[in-house]
Symmetry: none
Subunit: 185 residues, 2 copies
DNA sequence: GCTCTTTACGCTGTTCGTAAAGATA
DNA sequence: TATCTTTACGAACAGCGTAAAGAGC
């Protein structure tokens, strides 16, 4: 049997939406011209024309109205643009988030605690955490509660453990990369 | 000068995020296995492995932890997953919206007519149109014939009705989203 | 040994850029 | 004519699938 050579037909759901084409389309609408969009996206004019035409074909509706002074979105194109604004916003947030992981504190967690905390089941909790996250290096430091909270807030520590009695009864905070807010015990 | 052959390096911003890879990654996390993700996405196992590895390389952080029973998201992978949920939601809405335009049953239609038109059976025609297309909002404006024609041409009106005697005997044009050109009576 | 993931490699489809042609004021 | 968009075509790249190799229980 010859190589099956893939199911090329479904890049995304039924429409062939891809980020590059969507980005190029956005540029075309914002620049009101394929020529300028080509320049802005550093792509050949012909490539942009083709991308948008093929997207229109797949969707089954015109997205741009062409005239000899440039282009203009149709009603469908405007609707698409509204979605693209939020789509690329989400994407931007995603990238920022991923950059944070890529940057410095990759696989390292700085933990700060004060002395009144560790008495209870803390060591076991720590051990289980390290077992389930073997690729993370834990750095443990002792501080006073106020400093710990500040460190977590400004990001010089990923985890802060403060005495339960000082701030909230029976509650210890584990603040992990600003994504997780976990109750410990 | 030889063909410049493109700036291949920047599919999206600095990261090479593309919808197919993101979708595949989502599948891998949800299925907790590349094998199952491959099956679900109808893609070769090797293709999935490569896609995810390359995305991790570009991002500069591990997204999956591999063991011999499958895969598991790292902290970075979990963060990415949270964004993907909203991203694909937006995309889903976009597709639904575009499908509506493809079917031709959506949105607003700006209609321009001049006074000499409506005398005849025009109101009945309009009523029947609105009855058969209940989800379309009709906006009606009065203009002179030349302006109407221009509006339809440049797209500020989807429908133009001009006096039969002025331009073509016994003919009124209904120009709909530049896709349909329908004779009205 | 079994199940999972990764790497190697040939091959095909995709997509670019250049260049020429069409369209419109 | 000048300025935009589209189409044609050759070439490079990207991405798939098969198959073999690595890893961990």
């Amino acid at each position: 049997m010859p190589p099956h050579q893939g199911l090329r037909h479904m890049p995304w759901s039924s429409f062939g939406l891809d980020l590059v084409t969507l980005r190029v389309f956005k540029a075309a609408v914002e620049e009101r011209s394929l020529v300028w969009a080509a320049e802005r996206e550093r792509l050949a004019l012909s490539a942009i024309s083709r991308r948008i035409s093929e997207m229109e074909a797949r969707i089954g509706a015109a997205l741009l109205r062409r005239h000899d002074r440039g282009v203009e979105p149709t009603a469908a194109g405007e609707a698409l643009m509204r979605h693209l604004d939020t789509l690329f916003e989400v994407l931007e947030h995603t990238i920022v988030d991923m950059e944070a992981f890529a940057a410095g504190h990759r696989g390292q967690i700085r933990l700060q605690a004060n002395l009144s905390v560790p008495a209870g089941s803390f060591p076991e909790e720590l051990a289980s955490f390290q077992k389930s996250h073997p690729d993370i290096d834990l750095y443990i430091e002792e501080r006073i509660s106020a400093d710990i909270i500040h460190s977590v807030q400004i990001g010089t520590a990923e985890i802060g453990l403060v005495s339960a009695t000082m701030h909230a009864p029976n509650l210890q905070l584990l603040h992990w990369r600003t994504d997780h807010l976990v109750e410990l015990r």
